[in-house]
Every structure is written in C-alpha cells, then in structure tokens.
Amino acid sequence: MKKSARALAALLVAGLTLTACSSGDSTSGSGGGSTDAAAPGAQALDQAGGVTIVEFWHSMTGKNADVLTGLVDQFNAAHQGKIQIKAEFQGKYDELVAKYKASVQQKGTPALVQVYDIGTRFMIDSKQTVPAQAFADKDGYSLDDLDPNIRNYYSVGGKLAAMPFNSSMPVLYLNTDAFKEAGLDPAKPPTTLAELGDLAQKLTKKDANGQTVRYGFGAAIYGWFVEQLLAESGTMYCDQDNGRSNKAGKAVFDSAQGARIVQWWADLVKNGYAANTGRVTDDAQAAFKSGTVAMHLESTGVLRGYTEAAKFTVGTAAFPKVTASDQGGPVIGGASLWISGPGHSDAEKRAAWEFEKFLTSPEQQAAWHTGTGYFPVNRKSLDDPKDKEWVAKYPQFQTAIDQLKATKPAPATAGCLLGVMPQARKGVETAIEQTIKGSKTAQQALTDAAKELQPAIDSYNSSVG
C-alpha cells in the first residue's frame, strides 16, 4: 500500500514537471518570435470576471513617480471593477532588474515590469515575457503611431518585444550667459567634437590667481554618452550590426572612432577645459546648475529641473557629432514595459496590455511628456494642443524633437543589444577614467575593456544557449 502510494506520488511529480516544461516551451522564443498563441484576446478579461489585479514594477521617482501614479489612478478609475493596476516602486533600474531576477527564481514575477533600455536583450533571453507585437497582431492594433526610432530600439527582427514608455535623449546643454560673456553666440552652438573642444577652451575662465572659476565643458563619466557619440558617427558598439541581425558575440567599442571619442574627452580634462566630476551624474548636474560648467551633456529628462534651478538662461543644442560628415543620430534611451507570460493568467496578461495601450495613447503620452520631460513615444502626442503649449513654453525641448526627426532608423542608431550591456557600459567608464589618469591611451584602455568583457559575453551567451 505504502509502496504504491509512493509510486503514485512519483508519477504525479513527474507529470507536474512535464506539464511545467511544456508550458514553459509554449511561451519561450519570445521577443519578436512567433508566439502569437501566447497573447490572449480581449475575451480573456470578460471570462475572468471580478477584478483582475496587475502587479506593476517601476523605477520612477520624484515628479516622474507622481505623474505615473496619476496615470495609474486614471486608468483604474476608468476600469473600476474590472482591472486594478498596482504600481510598485522597486528601486532604480539596476536594482529593479536584480529584484526581477530573484522573482524569476522564486516564480513570482510581476505581471508588468518597466526595464531600462540596456536590459532589453536580457529580457528577451529571460523567456519570461509575451512580446507586445503578439498582442498587437492578435488585435490588429496598429503600432504605426510609435516613433519609428523608438520602435526600432525595442524591436528584434522587425517585431516589437516590449512597449516603449519613457524615452529620453541626450542633448547639449548651454549656459547662454557664459557664451555672451565670452563674446560667443549661443545661437551658434558647437556641432562637432572639435568645435566643442575649441569653444570649451574659449569658455574656460580663470581668476587672477590662475584658478579656474568656470570650465568650458563638463559631463558625468557616463558610458551612455560614448554610446551616443558612436551612434552619431554611425559606428557600431557591438558586432552583428549591434546585435540586431544576430546575437552579438563581441563588443567593438574599441574601434578607432571609440578611441578618438575617449581621447578627446580625456584631453579636454587634462588641458583644464573640462571639469571631471566623476561618475555620479548628480555631481555633474550640480556643476552645470551652479554655472561652474558652461557646456554639458545630459538627458532631456532633466531639462525642467535645470530651467527651474539655474540662475542663468539654459540653452539646448543638438547632441554633437564626432565629425561634420557623420550620418548617424542619437540612440533613444529610457525604458519599456514588458508583459510577463509564464505563471500569469490570460486575464492578467490582457489587463497589462490594456494598460500599455492606455499609457502610450497620444493623450497620456502628452501628459507624460509635459509632466516629466521624457520624449513622447507616440508621434501624435506632439500635435496635442497641451503638448504644443508646453513646447512653446520650454522651447529648449524643440531641440530633442528636431534631433529625433532628423534621425533615420539604422542599426547604429538602434543601439547595441547585448545581454551584458550594463557591464559593457561600466567597462567604457573605467576606460575613460584610465585615459584621464593617463595610465593608458584611449585605444589601449578600450581594447583592455573589451577584452575583460569577453568572458562575461561568452558565459552569458552560453547560459542562454
């Protein structure tokens, strides 16, 4: 009797494992794959009955979190008794991904999760999500309103893996008062690295003791800026067309173009024309806001903070190109929303999709854009009267709009898809520090960084299979 009970239990366990495996298989191959079956139709919500609760993890803080909460409340009110979105702040992007990984291990993923741009490859490889494309195809929902460059970033093989939500772009910030004081015209901002270097020299001001009171240039040692400059010059960051045509197996940021960018940066610091405030972005922002730095690279997301805090007129210009002949453009940064597949009911998936559609509608994106300074992912938002009024009030934002419109979607401007992208970025940051310190040339530092990164890429790719 005992024996047969044990056998029965073993069979049950085996059966459960098998079904678990097969259900896993049916949702794998996500991320632009052909998994339309995984996307439930509209009837899933009706069949569910009651309130479907969607746990939503995000990384928004401060003003951005307030605006997001407002949007969530609005959606919940409109779907009362049907859907309830439970938004939960889970720390900064890196911390959120760390928690998300733990939740996968414990089989308790949130139904909807906001993940930063450079986590895209990991999210695809995690095989935990249902691509946005699958829902759109199921519904015949058009994704054409999405900005093509933004859509390009989150697409693999032409299929949208995640719904873009908050997008930002780097621009060149100018202290126009400093320009006028130095007898320069802020309406003629630098467009190339060489011009930026020349102007930085002219804008650097020393006092009677020979102490620098204002630096011409200053930006955080943030690998993102190097990624942007490479994209501007149409150069790849990793192989396989930035990991777009096939899975990337190698970082190629140690190209001549990469070395040129890093060397340029380090030389400006070494010559005393650029302030080195280190990796902490807050410190670089403080230096610009206080007027100690005249030209500065940052995301559009901080524009409102700058215009409110600075005692001078804040100007913006297009992010510089490496050389005048460059054909590229900026890579869109920010984050996108991923819908979880395994372990979630059809109703949950469907409810998460409804929320995604709501968040990216023209009206909500206009509210999001004007409330936060993030770039609207929906092209129609820019035609919204409220949005137009806002751009008229903050004309500095027009720079970002023009910049994105001028960019043609291409692998270089789509950005690199690499599972270990955060580590690649860190390697480039170390290379910048080493070049500034003078312990290595830019070329040597970048080559070493790429070499050190290789084992991480290999082990990542082998664990993904």
């Binding site: 733990a102 986590g119 006092d207 280190g278 902490v280 230096a287 206080s290 955060p422 970025r425 664990s463």
Partner: protein, 306 residues
C-alpha cells in the same frame, strides 16, 4: 547501573538535568534566531560560492573551488584586498587615536566642556547615507566647499573623489568623521569610570598633563581602546554606504573594497554573479575572523583590566 531504574533517580542528578533543560529552553529562542539568520545564510553562501549561475543568478552547476582559485589569481582581486587593508588602516587608526586625543583634551577643565563633548559625539547621530551626501557636496570638484576654500588660498582644485590619488583618503576621512562620535562616546564613558582616587594619587605625586595621560588615563582606558579597535576594524571592513554614495568604487577601482566588490558582482551592472560574490564574501569572513583573532591574540595581552 542495572538496579537504578527501580529506585528513584538521584535527586542531585535530576536537579542538574532540570537545570540543563531550563538552560536550553532559555537559549532556544536565540539559538533559533542564530541558526535562521546566521547559520542558514552562511551555509547558503558557502553553497553558492561553489556553484556557477544561470541567467537569473540561480545556482546552475557545481564548480568546486573554481571561484576561489579565480579570485586568488586575479590581479583585480589582489588590488581589492590591498585597497581594503589600506581603507581599514586609514579609518581605524585615525578614528580611534583621534577620539582618544579629543577625549584627553576634554579632560582639561575648560569652560563649556559638556557642550564640546556633546558636539564631538554628534556625528554618531548621523546616518551613513545623510553624512555621505553632505560630504559629497563638500568634495564636489567643481562646486564643492573644500575646493572653494582652497581656491581662496590660491590652491587646488583637487579632485577629492575623482582623482585616484585622493579618492580613498577622502572616503576614509568621511568614515573617520562618522565613527568619531561613537568613539568619543565610548572613551568619555571610559574616562568617567576611572576611579577618582587613582587620578588624585597621581596628581599628589606630581603627575599632570601628558604624564598623567600616559601613565594613568590611557592604560586605564585599555579595555575601551581594545574594544573600539576590534569594533572599528569590523565596521571598517564592512563599510558600504559611504563608498556607494561617494565614489561607487571608482575612479578606476581606487575605492573598491571587498564589500563593494561583493555588491558589484552580485547586484550592480546586472551581472548577478552570485558565485563569485559569495566566494568573495567568504574571503571577507575569513579576513574579519583573522583580524579579530590577531587582535585578541596580540593586543589583548597588553590590555589592563582594572
């Protein structure tokens, strides 16, 4: 004793058993807590340190000592160990000695000594995070207070946190400031517990100032100094917040201590390398144990317990 079961157990033995039982019963809660919150994590860390990780950081396959041999042959890790040792020296020595000097100076009967004593103990009330943020503002190379003062003297600017020659010293200085409050508090209490007649006798013998400090106050503070040294060393080896807020281990790894390295491997930059991180955590445990053992073996012999 085969006949024993028929007779009642020896009253004394029974009594002792009952006492033991009671002792275990009292120990049980702390034992459970110990096993749950120290034993299990430690065991888990050892287990993880012998395994490779999958995409999500879950242990995937057994690799034995691989992570440890990788660490011991890595130049980066050796640098991390050296940085950790330097950081510990730069925080413990000035932290304890600085507090001792302050407390000895406070022994002089000057006006407002109570106020000063509370003022020096004040850093104790600051959290690591808020103190670090304040120091970050001080150290800012472009708009910081310290470089502002220096420029009035015609000096600088110094990249306190961005120049790898100064970064570790700057973070250590912040840590010393933060630990000073607690150290002053402990030593002040120690001074207060020195029997008055001892100081009085020494004074009658003509001792004062330095002589009094050297021959009476400092030796009598022995147990307190020893305690502070051990505790500061452990604290220093485990410092995280100030490094994270001020430098994030940079520039170019100049402030990457063992704890910070563990964090980087496990949680930062999406690496989820819990295997290597756990191996480093085990190394940290061994280092802490070794330091404490050495301190007990060498220093404690010289401590005079009154």
């Amino acid at each position: 004793m085969p006949t024993a079961p028929h007779t009642a157990p020896h009253p004394r033995r029974r009594h002792r058993w009952g006492e033991h039982g009671l002792a275990w019963a009292f120990l049980l809660p702390s034992l459970v807590v110990f096993v749950l919150f120290i034993g299990y994590p430690l065991g888990r860390t050892l287990y993880l340190s012998a395994h490779a990780n999958d995409l999500f950081g879950a242990p995937s396959r057994y690799v034995g000592w691989q992570h440890y041999t990788d660490l011991l042959t890595s130049a980066d890790f050796r640098r991390t160990l050296v940085t950790t040792a330097l950081f510990t020296l730069l925080t413990v020595v000035p932290g304890v000695l600085g507090a001792l000097v302050l407390v000895l100076l406070l022994e002089n009967r000057i006006r407002g000594v109570r106020l000063l004593r509370s003022a020096f103990a004040l850093p104790f009330a600051f959290s690591v995070a808020s103190a670090s943020v304040v120091f970050a503002v001080f150290f800012n190379p472009a708009s910081g207070v310290i470089n502002g003062l220096l420029s009035h003297l015609g000096l600088g600017p110094v990249g306190w946190l961005t120049d790898d020659r100064y970064a570790l010293v700057s973070v250590a200085a912040t840590t010393v400031w933060m630990s000073l409050g607690y150290n002053v508090l402990v030593l002040s209490a120690g001074v207060g517990s020195i029997p008055g007649e001892l100081l009085e006798a020494a004074r009658l013998d003509g001792a004062s100032g330095l002589r009094l400090a050297r021959s009476i106050t400092v030796p009598m503070l022995g147990p307190h100094l020893f305690f502070l040294t051990v505790v500061s060393t452990v604290h220093s080896l485990q410092s995280f917040g100030q490094i994270h807020i001020l430098t994030k281990g940079g520039p170019d790894g100049a402030t990457r201590t063992l704890v910070y390295s563990v964090y980087e491997k496990a949680f930062a930059y999406g690496s989820s390398d819990f295997g290597t991180a756990s191996a480093q955590a085990v190394v940290l445990l061994v280092v802490v144990l070794a330091c404490t053992a050495v301190q007990f073996g060498v220093l404690e012999r010289k401590v005079h317990y009154a």
